[in-house]
Point group: C2
Chain length 206, copies 2
């Protein structure tokens, strides 16, 4: 099994390689790729070794080849379509973020129970009533549901997404959600990042 | 040194303990605390062992005592004041998020270079011109700067924050930023969470 920490560094390597390819750089040394990614060169080599032998001895890595390989590992060599439940502050910020489209991740629609939000557009994306979620997921070949509703509504929304046939859920609500074994939940707790920072700051300031 | 993965689980334990304390539960077994936090009981015991001996043999943990202890470890037994640079989609969503205040983290002001945004309010928080950032940080005892500007502006904003005396930076822009050794940067890359999900989904669907 590939360690989770290794998986979480791949998008960083991917982003750096994208920058290099835009600069028309075709070969990059492991030292340079590591420095631009903010890791040690031995960590980079260890991470990549899980996926096979890529480096050309003495010359470094072929940028185009490594990009394609990482795309396959991250599953972004294909398109993924998403729906977002909860068209509030966070849901609308995510819907309009152009960074997802660069990786073949497309937000197809937002859903909300608030009639005042239904029928509106966020950028080019429609806000639809929650009752329409199941039909929309099945007609538009959606794979991923994003939860940006208040904590107490999150489990109910997850149940609806599972019944609609979604296999992946990206959950921003600060609660654990129960789903069947064939559904994957990725938690995103923004508070954790800030509390990690406050922990390191308070250790320094003592 | 405490492993980063342990630090990142503490806010989860903290949130569960807060829920228990609201339910007026004063003792909790390690099995129950572990189950509610989504970890194994041996992982929970191992995480807490870094900070001392808390469990009462056979009776579990004292909820109030453990809450206070985790507050101290996370550095949230004190107030932290934040400013956010970039009053766009993400910056305004973060500014109005009530979840930070629960942990003693207060957003004092937003800053932006766009004159159309300056002078407006986001909830009760003012949007001020970037030129005022240094003066504001020094007059209002601010410790943390949040970066939600486009990637190409991030390093410039970080330099300004360092000059203003900020010691902690929470960076959402998808670039690495260079800072002196006495400044701590916490990266938050929302794309990483989504790409981790697509990785696990594509492995399942093969
Ligand atoms: N705003 C942030 O920066 C931030 C940061 C971290 C975590 N979160 C979490 O993300 C979630 C959303 O936060 P927000 O700040 O966008 O809140 P918000 O109140 O702005 O938006 C919530 C939206 O969900 C809708 N909603 C409520 N119940 C629903 C249901 N059953 N089905 C469908 N829609 C429903 C509401 O009508 C509203 O539009 C919360 O769980 C919050 O804890 C937000
Ligand atoms: N929106 C999201 O969900 C999301 C997700 C992941 C990452 N991000 C990252 O967060 C950052 C902000 O994204 P957004 O979607 O809010 O963008 P946005 O365009 O809505 O907001 C950016 C804001 O920064 C301001 N700005 C630009 N240059 C500045 C400078 N030098 N000093 C001060 N302010 C400046 C702009 O006027 C604008 O108000 C980006 O780096 C983006 O990659 C956003």
């Amino acid at each position: 099994v590939i360690p989770r920490a290794t998986i979480s560094r791949l998008p960083v390597y991917f982003r750096v390689l994208m920058e290099l390819s835009h600069m028309e750089v075709s070969l990059v040394s492991s030292d340079e790729l590591a420095a631009r990614s903010g890791v040690s060169s031995s960590q980079l080599r260890k991470d990549l070794s899980y996926f096979g032998e890529f480096g050309i001895r003495g010359a470094g890595y072929d940028v185009g080849f490594l990009l394609q390989k990482i795309r396959e590992i991250l599953g972004i060599h294909r398109e993924w379509r998403l729906v977002i439940a909860g068209a509030g502050k966070l849901g609308t910020a995510l819907a309009r973020y152009s960074g997802f489209a660069q990786h073949g991740l497309e937000v197809a629609a937002l859903f909300d129970i608030d009639p005042g939000k239904q029928g509106k557009m966020t950028g080019k994306i429609p806000v639809l009533p929650m009752e329409d979620l199941t039909g929309f997921v099945q007609e538009h070949d959606i794979q991923i549901g994003v939860i940006t509703v208040p904590a107490q509504a999150a489990q109910g929304v997850a149940d609806l997404m599972v019944r609609a046939g979604l296999k992946g859920i990206w959950n921003f609500a600060p609660v654990r959600i129960e789903v069947p074994d064939d559904v994957i939940v990725q938690y995103e707790d923004l508070v954790v990042g800030l509390l990690t920072l406050s922990h390191h700051l308070s250790r320094r300031m003592r």
